[in-house]
Assembly symmetry: C2
Homo-oligomer: 260 residues x 2
């Protein structure tokens, strides 16, 4: 297990290995060839950046049975389970790092909600891989908050602003390698109070299944990410709130909410 962050190293965006309280900067990407730069910083003193910059940003929409049932009940509709793994895309422009501020747009409605998600970070180019070997292409795991404005999600023709407005995609705090995605719990807290807790592997289609299916048609590159969906019934966030997504083994992604 190794923990890798991306951070502001005196003005340069660099990856760093976290050992205890210390960040050791590297030149290069942790999934490629790299060398230590000699630069070391206390973890508490560095400004964390998004842990990678995906070229293609994959995101699974509905992937937990309980979430599907509860969201349908809330809308007064029948639950619709996905018949096959259909992935979606999100906007790179919406990504923010751990600790950065989620800005609620002035015209966003009350149903402005978090979604806590496991994120696979790829480390190798991946095309046409069988499910059995799919996780070999995952470098490590991080956490995403798929911030969603439910009014726009219902009214618009696409998810463009409902899920992709600026700051709607917190990701971090770092990437952890060597973890078993079948042995994680996701815990969500709003202002310190737990609002949801679920076994991270209770997915309709697991990460390996998604990677195998997507890679039949699309080449996944190192540094690309796949967000794996959320469970439960997300709650509303209002300016002044702080939302935390913890996934055991990875850490906690924490972001305050402010009014735009």
């Amino acid at each position: 297990m190794t923990i890798w962050c991306r951070f502001d190293d005196d003005g340069d965006a660099r990856f760093g290995r976290i050992d205890g309280d210390t960040v050791t900067a590297i030149e290069g990407a942790p999934w490629g060839t790299y060398s230590e730069t000699g630069s070391r910083h206390p973890l508490a003193a560095v400004k964390l950046l998004i842990p990678c910059e995906p070229r293609t940003f994959y995101c699974v929409g509905v992937n937990y049975p309980d979430h599907i049932v509860k969201m349908a009940a809330m809308r007064g509709t029948e639950p619709k389970f996905p018949k096959k793994p259909d992935v979606g895309y999100r906007a790179q422009s919406a990504l923010i790092a751990h600790g950065e501020t989620i800005v609620k747009p002035p015209d966003a409605g009350e149903k402005f909600q978090y979604e806590g998600e496991l994120v696979a970070v790829f480390g190798k180019r991946c095309r046409n891989v069988p499910k059995e070997r799919a996780l070999d292409y995952v470098f490590g795991w991080t956490i995403g908050n798929d911030v969603s404005e439910r009014g726009w999600q219902a009214s618009d023709g696409t998810l463009w602003r409902a899920k992709n407005a600026d700051t709607f995609k917190p990701m971090g705090p770092w990437i952890v390698t060597g973890l078993d995605p079948n042995d994680m719990t996701t815990i969500i807290r709003l202002n310190g109070a737990e609002t949801d807790r679920f076994a991270t592997n209770k997915m309709v289609f697991d990460t390996a299944t998604y990677i195998a299916e997507v890679s039949k048609y699309c080449t996944i590159e190192p540094g690309d990410v796949m967000w794996m969906g959320t469970d439960g019934l997300p709650q509303n966030m209002t300016p002044g709130d702080t939302v935390e997504i913890e996934i055991t083994g990875i850490g906690t992604l924490r972001n305050p909410v402010v009014a735009g």
Copy 2:
């Protein structure tokens, strides 16, 4: 009017200015600060690359009245006109350059079709710009072929493979600055025979309207692209075909189709 390409300069991806038959390489991006490298090549001898690498890849879905009417008639449904400008996202991994090969996946159906589209390439960071000034943020214009597998488009929960499988997004051949998007004609040819011709500005919502709306919520960065939709009724492509999208003032994007 200046023509800018991106090309393989002895192994390095570089932008180049095209003057007549000559490409002059630059260091940097044409929308930023740059300098000439001294490297010059005959245009005919260079391998063109995709003309920019967007961080966020915006694509307008249905934006021409005639296309909406004809596609609905083909499906036997009522035409549905968009009520507001809702943009979508496409996968960077699907982009290929002028001259590169569109690969029809082995399990793709008969309705494997081109869509010829005007593409705005941004040159300045853009947030919250009024419609009247929106085109000031466009550096120049290029051409996109929004290759689509209609069976998957109808059957899947998202457009992920229908419009984003590898090679499904030809873009190029280059970027032309100083053009008036209201004075262009799009001409589509399959194996040299014209299959469609339309005034490029007959959009439901024009480029400036889209930029103004998107930039209310999303920060558009230099090098990002917005594909503006197609008109007409696209035809099927089969391996062995060559598809050309010409937009007057820009040039011709030409790609052969092969079987995967």
